[in-house]
């Protein structure tokens, strides 16, 4: 079958033709069935596996419940009161925000710089890109165990493989990477940077590919140097990519669980606990499902609040039209 298309201007100019009186909801029945057929399964999955569990968690959080037997010990907001007064939970929230802030401040600039370097004509560029992306592809458990082994202390000395390498280049007293409560979150941030920087760089490279070459030519004709060109052309045009990366990074940092669980289990002395680790350790693992649900609800609202706020203020210009049905204010 040959499709006949009429090409025309993407945006119709001039006065609109006489408005056709349209009534809403006047969609042909066949089309409605089609929509229901395509959207239905997704809606069912979303309701059953997203909305319903969220609602159930919120409900459970008002009970003292171990996950078995009837839900009959209603305790109101006690789980929330306990949670909000627990210093370990405070540490966990702080750690989540520590990872968010450090990721934005350190990973973002490094990713942009590396992407700028790799965007030039380099030898082995394909190989370099692949190597940088390898940590991201590795499973979290594999990467976590590898880092745990590299950073552990090995008998008979207290030094592990990483320490021994550092000593070979003159650093005689490396810190106790995983055992010192004051150091462990920096170690964790280092591991997370190693793991997720590849994704950030690949995203930035994709963003750079969308910057028109002519702008650089124009800038160079105007006599702009390399730094100025990057600052005034590349970075602003990379804006949408940076904002999306930052969004993914923030949400990922809030949900941080698996890497911490594998490498430290939240220790030592709960110094590397995150909200999700806290939820599993003091909710699921000790059969306090009601309390764990309260943690989940708090984590959910923090994430939702940040996500909506971010969309409202930071992503607005990127998403304009996509959420508002094309209507502009």
């Amino acid at each position: 079958m040959i499709a006949t298309e009429t090409t025309g201007p993407a945006v119709s100019a001039g006065p609109a033709p006489a408005p056709i009186k349209r009534r809403r909801n006047r969609v042909p029945a066949g089309q409605r069935r089609e929509v229901a057929l395509f959207v239905g399964p997704a809606v069912i999955v979303y309701v059953v596996f997203v909305l319903l569990p969220v609602a159930l968690a919120a409900y459970y959080s008002f009970f003292n419940w171990n996950g078995l037997g009837p839900l009959d010990r209603f305790i109101g907001l006690d789980n929330y009161a306990r949670l909000l007064t627990d210093p370990v939970f405070h540490t966990s929230v702080f750690n989540n925000f520590f990872i968010i802030v450090m990721s934005l401040l350190i990973q973002g600039p490094i990713a942009i710089l590396v992407a700028l370097l790799m965007n030039r004509r380099l030898r082995f560029r394909g190989l370099l890109r692949a190597l940088i992306f390898v940590p991201y592809v590795l499973s979290e458990v594999t990467a976590g165990l590898a880092w745990q082994i590299l950073l552990q202390s090995v008998p008979p000395t207290r030094w592990g493989p990483v320490d021994t390498m550092l000593q070979a280049i003159g650093i005689q007293e490396p810190p106790a990477w995983l055992a010192d409560p004051n150091v462990v979150m920096w170690t964790m941030f280092g591991i997370l940077t190693w793991k997720y920087l590849g994704l950030a760089i690949i995203l930035m490279l994709a963003g750079l590919a969308g910057v028109p070459e002519e702008l650089y030519e124009a800038a160079s004709l105007d006599g702009a140097g390399w730094w100025k060109t990057q600052w005034y052309i590349t970075v602003p045009l990379l804006g949408p990519t940076i904002r999306i990366w930052a969004f993914l990074s923030i949400i990922g940092s809030l949900q941080l669980f698996d890497m911490v669980w594998i490498v430290t289990g939240g220790g030592p002395l709960n110094a590397s606990s995150t909200m999700a680790v806290y939820m599993v350790k003091y909710g699921l693992n000790v059969s306090q499902i009601g309390f764990g649900s309260a943690v989940a609800v708090v984590l959910f609202f923090i994430s939702l609040f940040i996500a909506l706020g971010y969309q409202r203020f930071a992503l607005r210009r990127d998403l304009e039209g996509s959420l508002t049905g094309g209507k502009r204010k």
Binding site: P156, L269, V286
Partner: protein, 195 residues
């Protein structure tokens, strides 16, 4: 704790030392003879034997230098002298289980079967079956249990996961953080209040 003056008699980085299963665990440190002793339960012999460098994967023998003793009593301390902490394994039988289940358990718990069980390197739970133990370390462990005036299940097991977790956290805080002895029962009571 104050007598140690911040210099605890532990290996380096004790807060990140696993208990067992891996070479840098406390059992592994002992197996590699880089530490003098560890606090360990009745499964001590098996854990250490398999972590000895170069040990065979199948039925590793206990190293000849390995030994086991109950935690010594403190003279004049409160409590029952000779009391011990230990495992509390038991058979659970469903109320409607058929009679054959009990017959099977009676067979499993017979002196003959338990003696042969002991010969495989395990500690029997039936009096008279200890004759089957050939390993000297296992003999020490079995004697420790037999001679104890009473055996209490590990406290974090005995009290259940919620109180047990709070107790363990508070003890680690006491030893390596800023916790005080008073905070241990406080934490346990607070945890008990959430049950």
């Amino acid at each position: 704790m104050d007598e140690f003056d911040g210099d605890l008699p532990f290996q380096a980085n004790p807060t990140s030392t696993p208990a067992q299963s891996v070479p840098n665990s406390s059992a592994g440190l002992l197996a590699a003879q880089t530490t003098a002793m560890e606090l360990m339960g009745t499964w001590h012999r098996g854990e250490v034997a398999k972590l000895v460098p170069g040990a065979p994967a199948e039925n590793p023998p206990a190293p000849e230098w390995l030994s086991w003793m109950p935690v010594p009593d403190i003279e004049g301390a409160e409590g029952e002298p000779g009391a011990a902490l230990g495992s509390g394994d038991a058979w659970g039988v469903y109320v409607d289980a058929p009679d054959e289940t009990l017959e099977l358990l009676e067979y499993v718990m017979s002196e003959d079967v338990q003696t042969r069980f002991a010969a495989t390197g395990e500690i029997p739970t039936v009096a008279g079956a200890e004759a089957g133990i050939t390993d000297p370390v296992l003999k020490q462990i079995a004697e420790g249990t037999v001679n104890a005036s009473l055996v209490v299940t590990w406290l974090d097991t005995q009290y259940g996961p919620v109180i047990g977790q709070a107790m363990n956290d508070a003890i680690v805080n006491l030893m390596f953080g800023s916790g005080t002895p008073e905070q241990i029962p406080e934490a346990m009571n607070a945890a008990a209040a959430t049950l």
